[in-house]
Amino acid sequence: MLESIDVTKKFVGKTAVDGITMQLEPGHIYALLGPNGSGKTTWMKMAAGLIKPTSGQIRYNNQPISIATRNEIAYMSTEPYFYDWMTVGDVGKYYADFFQDFSMERYDYMLEKMDLDKKLKVKSLSSGMMAKLKVAATMARDAKVYMLDEPLNGIDLLARDSVMNMILMAADETKTLLVSSHLVEELESVVDKAIFIKRAQFAGMYDVEALRTEENTSLADKYRQVFSDVEMGGIQ
């Protein structure tokens, strides 16, 4: 179980995450939803151990987040992060070198499904191909928790389908998946729980099918409802 206990992160002149308390259980795919800049990425990075909270704590199976929990919690950032000199094959080797739970077989299988050639240079990849590569590398790990930050960002419809398939192939009752996206509609059928983050704060967790059966509401409608009063700054 991944547990966030009153977690706050302050940067110079800005509170990015403000007192978030929540629990993520295995066997579910969670959507982490909120406008850009609401604190989703910062929270994920804290759970990945890349950033330390200013106060509060994130715990995985009752252990505070540490170097060791990186073995069980896989994180994928929105931005491309591979070294310029790497090929698609090198990325696999890199993951295999550092993660014991990485399966080269699974990686190869996913690359084949997504039409990614191992000889391609990562520098030459289109944004859609890069998105697929990042998801493939991350999901080829046999982690307990997967956190994917905006995996559908900037990719076409077909790539979206294959990314979703990869996510679904990894999901089972022992795993916790957390997917952030501003494309709420894309996640409707795939996630079963949705977490809303509003102005750096926790703004509710919902069972998505229950929203439909009990309130006759789609996830997108709920999103509009929760964020109806949030001004969308800048270009969305």
């Binding site: 679904l168 059928s189 079963d192 099918e209 059966t213 789609s218 409608d221």
Partner: protein
């Protein structure tokens, strides 16, 4: 796969499967994909997929053989019933839209006959 995001996804997938069974695309007694495979094929949450089979089992449309998976019932009667049930539902929808347009059942029947010719 396109879904109506306001209607529970499991009900929509159940409808897809039932239609396939009635049309014979899925045969009587045929093994169905595991709920995980179902989740990937229909791009739905694995818990939703599991619920789909639970509901279908409850309705007697399919059954689980321990350690072997889920199978479509071999009882043709169930499938005939299913067909009638779904036809009823389709009719309900049809008649509802007709009455919204102020068209009586007799008029609707007339329209259908014209369409036939």
């Amino acid at each position: 796969m396109q879904y109506d995001s306001k209607i529970p996804i499991y009900l929509q997938v159940i409808k897809f499967l039932k239609t396939d069974i009635i049309s014979g695309q899925i045969k009587c007694g045929q093994k169905l994909p595991s709920s995980r495979e179902l989740a990937v094929t229909y791009t739905i949450n694995p818990n939703t997929a599991a619920r789909v089979y639970q509901e279908l089992e409850r309705e007697g449309v399919c059954y689980t053989k321990r350690g072997m998976g889920t199978f479509v019932t071999e009882d043709e009667g169930v499938i005939t019933m299913l067909r009638e049930q779904m036809a009823e539902e389709a009719l309900d929808v049809f008649l509802k839209s007709m009455s919204e347009l102020g068209i009586s059942i007799d008029e609707a029947v007339e329209l259908l006959k014209q369409r036939e010719e």
